[in-house]
């Protein structure tokens, strides 16, 4: 199975909105891919479909050749845009939780990253600032040795210094059997770590290319191209 994620004529229709319009896509293993598009373009819908949180109206979405279910959830590590951790637990509790449910969770890695970012693992999540909670979430997600990472706005609410650390962590975590899909607005920050980018708008794939190809052929950064393509 060469592709970690495949969309085959994928359609998702909500009352009053066609979120994904017969999308065809293949994302290979071992890449860091940017899923870029304005709000309401269908990015979150695609990610939710990949996670099995919603089901397609028609067409298929396949993770490693399988439809979303328990087996795919074992190999997909998801970072949603919001904080989704159990407030009343401490960081230590959350680490134990992840260990319990995910066999690919690397406890040592998690504790190392927590230490580097200066987070005290005995604190309750409830007492932490939003930024710290987001860091903890990211650490938990990246400490899994998954085959597909879906990161929805991983650096959005974080200060620039932490942003760099997070991007470095993402690179450092890279392994050629895993794919990382990053959905974000902060393109210029993230561009140089991406292999490929996918532009999506109003439920349609507008562009799919490697970053270097774009720079070579368009002589501009992906960020600049994005602004052009999605000019208001």
């Amino acid at each position: 199975m060469e592709n970690i994620l495949e969309c085959q004529n994928l359609v998702k229709f909500f009352p009053g909105c066609l979120a994904l319009n017969s999308v065809n896509l293949a994302v290979p293993k071992g890449k860091i891919v940017g899923l870029l598009g304005p709000n309401g373009s269908g990015k979150s819908t695609m990610i939710k479909l990949a996670n099995g949180l919603i089901t397609p109206t028609s067409g298929k979405i396949l993770i490693n050749g399988m439809e979303p279910g328990i087996e795919t959830k074992k190999i997909v590590s998801y970072l949603p845009e919001r904080t989704y951790l159990n407030d009343w637990m401490t960081v230590n509790n959350m680490i134990e939780f992840f260990c319990d449910f995910y066999t690919d969770f690397n406890k040592q890695k998690a504790y190392d990253m927590l230490q580097r970012l200066g987070v005290d693992p005995s604190l309750r999540l409830k007492t932490m600032s939003k930024g710290t909670k987001e860091k903890v979430q990211l650490i938990l997600v990246m400490s899994r040795e998954a085959e597909l990472y879906l990161l929805d706005e991983p650096i959005g609410g974080v200060d620039p210094a932490a942003r760099d650390y997070i991007l470095d962590t993402i690179i450092g975590n890279y392994n050629e059997n895993a794919t990382i899909i990053i959905s974000t607005h902060l393109i210029s920050d993230v561009e140089k770590i991406l292999d490929e980018v996918i532009f999506i708008n109003k439920g349609n794939i507008v562009l799919a290319s490697t970053v270097d190809d774009i720079r070579e052929h368009e002589n501009k950064s992906v960020d600049a191209l994005f602004r052009e393509v999605f000019k208001c």
Binding site: I32, I171, D195, D212, R215, S221
Partner: protein, 122 residues
């Protein structure tokens, strides 16, 4: 070292240039072992695939070679490095001369100016 990567040119070709510089200037000496792809990518804050591509290019250019189990090394061929250094130097010089031409100086005048500038330096 700071990796200064511009955003409108392909990353991998910029990496090729910067690593070449590191080699010819001796920061990565002849025959030395390079850090792993992952480490270098982390330092430059780029995607490891892109770094890999750059290193492969340098391998086919003959500046690097890899041994299957031990990793990547700078070539021991000192002449080759010298060659690269010289051709890089030539590009700088030619660019300089072009710029001087734009100012209105011909080649001879440019050389004279360099010599006097060099004397002042000492």
């Amino acid at each position: 070292m700071a990796w200064n990567l511009k955003s409108d040119r392909p990353i991998y070709s910029q990496l090729v240039e910067q690593i070449e510089l590191l080699i010819v200037s001796g920061i990565y000496p002849a025959g030395s072992k390079l850090p792993s792809v992952r480490d270098m990518a982390g330092e430059a804050s780029v995607n490891p695939n892109t770094m890999q591509r750059a290193l492969s290019q340098l391998e086919s250019d003959g500046l690097l070679f890899s041994q299957r189990t031990s990793g990547r090394f700078v070539t021991e061929d000192v002449d080759k490095i010298m060659q690269t250094k010289n051709s890089l130097a030539m590009s700088i010089i030619n660019e300089f001369i072009d710029n001087m031409n734009n100012l209105g100086y011909n080649r001879q005048q440019a050389v004279t100016l360099i010599e006097s500038a060099a004397e002042e330096e000492i």
